[in-house]
């Protein structure tokens, strides 16, 4: 059945937190909170039933990919076009690799680790944050990037009235349904 979204606009942090506490106590878990900045108190409440971000997984994979590709590139390329420079070289011989010029390749490895890791992280953030999109969600209000806090509750239509009441009592300046 269709759900209704009830949006409460708050001016203060403490009121917002109180509203969230109330909602949680009443068993409303499908809540979206809009804030102009990350607020510690609010996160505290929400963290209780939200999983930790998986961005770090992206970072890890990216970094490892960087290291591996760096060593592949450097070692392979000095194999296919091995030149002796300054008495040092790295060349395939019967037994395997002879020569001695690995140390510099660690520098390349480090750089590519950071590069790939960094990009992977951003990609992770974008993907998990459901970005990018051209239009903002229905419940969104421009004031949320300025100085207002928003709590959008997604509930069954018949309970909308009670949510309205709840938000207002906990101190919302304005409550509307979307």
């Amino acid at each position: 059945m269709a759900t209704e979204t009830v949006l409460g606009v708050f001016a203060h942090v403490d009121t917002t937190v109180r509203a969230l506490e109330e909602l949680r106590a009443r068993g409303y878990h499908d809540v979206t909170v809009y804030t102009p900045l990350p607020v510690h108190e609010i996160e505290e409440v929400l963290e209780r039933d939200r999983p930790v971000s998986r961005v770090r997984l992206f970072t890890l994979i990216g970094g490892l990919a960087g290291i591996v590709s760096a060593f592949l590139l450097t070692i392979w390329s000095s194999m296919v076009w091995g030149q002796v420079t300054g008495g040092k070289y790295l060349q395939p011989t019967g037994g395997g690799i002879s020569g001695s010029s690995l140390p510099p390749f660690f520098i390349i490895a480090f750089e590519l680790m950071v590069l790939f890791g960094g990009f992977a992280t951003v990609i992770g953030m974008v993907v998990l944050g459901r970005l990018p999109r051209l239009r903002t969600s229905a419940a969104y209000d421009p004031r949320f990037t300025n100085d207002r806090f928003g709590v959008a509750v997604h509930c069954a239509p018949e309970r909308a009235a009670t949510v309205h009441e709840l938000l207002r009592t906990s101190g919302a300046e304005e409550v509307k349904s979307r």
Binding site: D14, L46, L73, W81, I108, E111, V114, T121, V122, P132
Partner: protein
């Protein structure tokens, strides 16, 4: 609101004040723009002449096959250190005072690294083949020499530029969302696109915070590595005065030193013209003053080490090189450097000096001069008096390389002046983090 200046500003003030910096600028601004653009024209003219007639247009010679180009290259790379240092390391250390300056610092970093990035091209005898340095697949299986410090540079600097840029953009997204919501018409449409549809929902913030932290964690070693790698251009060479294990930390410290000087040079006018005293407060200046003082003292220590090691080495050629630097043709440059980098910053021991914009500004300019000469002294005199007496020689700058060095500053300032008009030069979000959040009944508040 009226009491906004006396007490700390509200969230709304922050938005208003920051967005105000993006209003159409005055004549002074355009005057500056024209001046800078003029210099830039000279810069490109000189460069074109050099490409057409050859490297000989610049004053290079045997033995100074490197001179002011590499000097300025290293100088700009150094400048490029403050930004990411502030946004990464200080972020991890939760240094709250960073928030109001880090956006400007990051922009500075990116522009400085871009400027620096020009110099390897300007410097190359056949810059139209500079792409040979990139490991691109080609039918002849030719690859760069990964043992060459110059190739390390290519990787280090391009990585640093990319990561700094990413960092910068990620930081910008919520602010652009604020711009979007504050603007109308075509601006709104552009900002909507740039904002990627950011709306500050709790999910977005959750991933955002995590990603930002991880980026900071990645960027921290990067900041320290970039200038180390650049320093190896010299440390890996044989030239007396270059061939030293001291160089990596020495260069990194110098970089931070000059980076912060440049930050001040950029922030102080902004603070003045945009009237941002509420956000860039004395405590910020004080903190930066302290940082310059500390890095300056560390640098002095490194200078002493440098002299000590070359004396203690007992290496005749090392000592000869040092003695020549201190006494001969380029001695004036060396002593200028010592004064600007070792003596001038000492004034910052006094809190009054640290909090006085004028004093800070003067010191910063001296520091920049000193740091440019540091690189000059490493490159030109060392080469001028190295192993082989037959080729000892003096380098004289030519109009071409002088013009190009000056022009590089115009390139940098053009970018920066453009930035402060197009993007919020303070981070709306992070500035809000520094002021107490609005609470209704003080009982619960903090």
């Amino acid at each position: 609101m009226s009491d906004g200046r006396t007490t700390s500003p509200t969230f709304a003030d922050v938005n208003r004040d920051v967005l105000r910096t993006l209003e159409p600028p005055g004549n002074l601004y355009f005057a500056w723009m024209c001046f800078v653009a003029l210099l830039l024209a000279g810069f490109f003219a000189a460069w074109a002449g050099q490409v057409w007639w050859g490297m000989g247009m610049a004053g290079k010679r045997v033995p100074q096959m490197w001179a002011m180009y590499i000097t300025t290259f290293v100088f700009w790379i150094g400048i490029g250190h403050a930004g990411t240092l502030i946004s990464a390391i200080l972020y991890l250390f939760r240094a709250r005072w960073r928030t109001s300056i880090y956006r400007g610092a990051e922009a500075m970093t990116i522009f400085a690294v871009m400027t620096a990035g020009l110099f390897p091209l300007i410097h190359a005898g056949r810059m139209w083949f500079a792409y040979y340095l990139l490991p691109y697949p080609n039918q002849r299986f030719l690859w760069p020499n990964f043992r060459s410090p110059l190739v390390w540079d290519v990787f280090a600097i391009s990585t640093y530029l990319s990561i700094s840029t990413v960092f910068f953009i990620v930081g910008l997204v919520p602010d652009i969302a604020a711009l979007r919501d504050a603007s109308t018409g075509w601006r709104k449409r552009i900002f909507s696109m740039l904002a990627l549809g950011w709306e500050g929902s709790d999910t977005q913030w959750r991933h955002y915070r995590r990603a930002y932290g991880l980026l900071a964690a990645l960027a921290t070693p990067l900041v320290l590595s970039v200038h180390s790698v650049v320093s190896w251009d010299f440390a890996m060479a044989l030239v007396p005065g270059w061939h030293s294990t001291l160089f990596a930390p020495f260069f990194v410290d110098g970089a931070i030193f000059s980076g912060f000087a440049m930050v001040l040079i950029l922030i102080l006018p902004m603070r003045h013209f945009f009237n941002l005293h509420a956000y860039i407060q004395e405590k910020h200046l004080d903190a930066m003053g302290k940082l310059i003082l500390v890095t300056g003292l560390v640098l002095t220590y490194f200078y002493i080490c440098e002299i000590f090691t070359s004396l203690y080495s007992g290496e005749h050629i090392e000592k000869a090189s040092l003695f020549w630097k201190v006494t001969a043709t380029y001695a004036w440059a060396l002593w200028t450097m010592y004064f600007c980098n070792c003596v001038a910053p000492l004034v910052l021991f006094w809190k009054r000096a640290r909090t006085s914009p004028v004093v800070l500004y003067v010191v910063s300019i001296l520091v920049l001069i000193g740091m440019w000469f540091e690189r000059f002294n490493i490159i030109v005199p060392s080469l001028g008096h190295d192993f082989y007496p037959y080729t000892w020689g003096i380098y004289y700058p030519s109009p071409t390389d002088t013009m190009i060095v000056i022009g590089s500053f115009s390139f940098f300032f053009l970018l920066f002046l453009g930035f402060i008009r197009l993007m919020p030069s303070l981070s709306i979000v992070e500035v809000k983090e520094t002021i107490p959040p609005p609470v209704r009944d003080r009982a619960h508040g903090h």
